[in-house]
């Protein structure tokens, strides 16, 4: 069993009682995790771990020192607290260090589910068996990772703040490759509830995609209409949201900077079909009601019907600008549309269907231009139908331009991106979408 609120509170109280610094924050993280890994159609490793660590941050004036301990005897905790205080005294002053937060009120959100917390080794083995059986039947090689976990996070300060939360996660991802090495498919999902995870469906999606993607042909890079599956869309909205920082905008370093000073809050920045928000209580992506500093999470609208509504304010920047700080969100939700996947494809004269992206990196913060590649299933669409597999390509595109060129969406679902965003700990809900004039820059030989 993972630690209860009472156990966590007893530990954080005990650690704080040893503190001699002006202010101290302690953060407990840990829990139980168990996994099975497979490759080349065979289980390779299985493991389970249970462990906790406590980060102690001592603040003396504007100096802060942090030490992490994983042994919780009085002697060990005292050593950690003393070391944190010593490091604080030796550290340069951080002019932006903020006072720690005091008592807070948090919403009650169900993020912990017994079915995932109680997932057995047999369940995990069965989830893998589903993939291995299907892979052998279709003559492809499957490799992947299934993990179930129950985790705890508690944050407490010497100023009286205490937050405790526990959450569960069931994560499953696999890659399937044709034995001739010319085709590859992939699928990945993460849910708080085990009952929502369907290993058979995921395995079937990845394996079917591998079989259909073998022997791809190269097409000319250039501008194409794309149908992005939710895993690819997740990276588009994550790259937009992660850049939505108020300080960068105020300092003129971002796409969200207004010409002549200030931010673009209140301006239409993307297509009016686009609404993106964070909400800790979203039923498809429930997350803990507080962030790492102990601030209570609430719904924040980032983009509503194409208009920029908010940017992220750190506590330091918020007080400097006379604004309210925004807690670090635990999820990102994009509202979907009413089309089916078949309808998205049917509306494409000539374009490509993208399974997932890979290795996305920034090129220009002023336009949010990023580069990345496609991977594990790229298909040509001709006259409204998927016609043939094509070789992977590199793309150079801005999420802002992409979300301006969006013209239809499916309903939203939980998604894990090719870059791993949306897995346990940070949830993403988004649709598949059809986007015009997406810019592919070069071809890739990788399968």
């Amino acid at each position: 069993m993972i630690w209860t609120r009472e156990q966590a509170k007893a530990l954080t109280d005990r650690a704080l009682s040893f503190s001699k610094a002006e202010e101290t924050q302690v953060t407990l993280t840990g829990g139980d995790r168990a996994n099975v890994r497979f490759a080349r159609n065979s289980v390779t490793t299985a493991g389970a771990s249970s462990g906790y660590s406590l980060a102690v941050s001592a603040k003396i004036g504007q100096r802060v020192g942090t030490v992490t301990a994983s042994e919780f005897s009085d002697a060990s905790l005292q050593r950690a607290v003393r070391n944190a205080e010593e490091i604080a005294r030796l550290s340069p002053e951080n002019p932006e260090a903020m006072p720690l937060v005091g008592p807070q009120t948090y919403a009650t959100i169900q993020t912990y589910f017994e079915d995932a917390a109680g997932a057995s080794p047999e369940w995990r083995a069965g989830a893998v068996r589903a993939a291995l059986d299907a892979a052998k039947e279709k003559n492809v090689d499957a490799a992947g990772f299934v993990e179930t976990s129950a985790q705890v996070q508690a944050v407490a300060t010497s100023k009286g703040q205490f937050g405790y939360g526990r959450f569960t996660a069931a994560d499953y991802n696999l890659t399937a490759r044709t034995t001739d090495g010319t085709g590859s498919g992939w699928a990945s999902k993460s849910y708080n509830e085990l009952r929502l995870l369907d290993p058979r469906a995921l395995a079937s999606a990845a394996i079917d995609k591998a079989a259909r993607s073998h022997s791809p042909v190269a097409i000319e890079p250039g501008k194409y209409t794309v149908v992005l599956e939710p895993a690819a869309m997740a990276d588009i909205i994550a790259n937009l949201a992660f850049a939505a920082d108020a300080r960068q905008a105020d300092e003129g370093r971002s796409f969200f900077s207004k010409k002549g000073g200030g931010t673009r809050i209140g301006e239409a920045v993307v297509n009016e079909k686009v609404t993106i928000f964070s909400d800790p209580a979203h039923p498809m992506a429930p997350v803990l009601p507080f962030d790492g500093e102990g601030l209570p999470l609430q719904r924040i609208d980032w983009v509503s019907k194409g208009v920029l509504k908010n940017l992220s304010y750190s506590r330091y920047w918020a007080q400097k600008q006379g604004k309210t700080a925004t807690p670090q969100p635990g999820n990102l939700v994009m509202e979907g549309g009413k089309s089916t996947m078949d309808e998205l494809i049917a509306g494409v004269e000539r374009g490509v269907l993208v399974t997932r992206f890979w290795y996305i990196r920034s090129l220009d913060p002023q336009t949010l231009l990023v580069t990345g590649l496609t991977r594990d299933g790229l298909f040509l669409i001709e006259k409204g139908k998927v016609s043939r597999p094509v070789k992977n390509m590199r793309w150079n595109e801005s999420p802002v331009f992409a979300l301006n060129n969006l013209d239809a969406m499916t309903a939203s679902e939980r998604a894990v991106s090719g870059e791993g965003v949306g897995g346990a700990g940070f949830s993403i809900v988004c649709p598949a979408a059809r986007i015009r004039e997406f810019t592919f820059a070069s071809g890739s030989d990788a399968v």
Binding site: G47, G51, F145, I360, R361, G372, N396, S398, S442
Partner: protein
């Protein structure tokens, strides 16, 4: 930056060539892997990012050896009729089988007739890895060698973050695509 006396299998580390005189000669290995390619000892490339993480095969560092001749930055610029000089690293993205890469830099400079003329903006370069390395035609000497690296190189599943470093002299490559990244 990422130099170790022993790896996390307890193997004493050594210097070993991966590519020698342009030819691929050896793999990075762990104790579990060396025997698979008929070798009797590991090259000490097993690392975890934490006492509680499982170690797996990854390198602490890989470096490009400098030219034995004392070729200088000035020699390379002077020998370049029409080129772009990239200083410092910035954005980097490469496909999962390491063919197609696109990198940018801290600063880009135009080189014309053996001289740096002006700074360039909004540039990145792109190539296919084997073709790129085959196009290397000038290599700086020891004096141009610098060590760089990162503290947070992500690998594995569940992902582990570890330090990695790379030493390089100045190098010149022919016929590399330069992109304009402005929109």
């Amino acid at each position: 930056m990422a130099t170790c006396g022993y790896d996390d299998d307890g193997v004493k580390t050594t210097t070993f060539p991966i590519i020698k005189d342009g030819v691929f000669v050896d793999y990075q290995t762990t104790r579990d892997q060396a025997h698979l390619i008929g070798q009797k000892a590991s090259h000490g490339c097993s690392y975890a990012d934490n006492w509680s993480s499982v170690p797996f095969q990854r390198m602490p560092n890989v470096s490009l050896q400098p030219n034995e001749k004392p070729v200088t930055e000035q020699d390379i610029i002077a020998a370049t009729e029409d080129g772009v000089y990239v200083k410092g690293d910035s954005s980097y993205s490469i496909d999962h089988q390491r063919y197609n890469f696109q990198f940018s830099g801290q600063t880009f400079w135009e080189v014309k007739n053996g001289k740096i003329t002006t700074q360039l903006r909004d540039a990145a370069y792109h190539a296919n890895t084997p073709e790129f390395w085959k196009s290397l035609d000038m290599l700086g000497g020891k004096a141009t060698y610098e060590l760089g690296g990162a503290f947070s190189d992500g690998k594995g599943q569940p992902v582990q973050s570890n330090s990695v470093s790379h030493g390089c002299p100045i190098a010149r490559f022919k016929n590399v695509d330069i992109l304009n990244t402005a929109r």
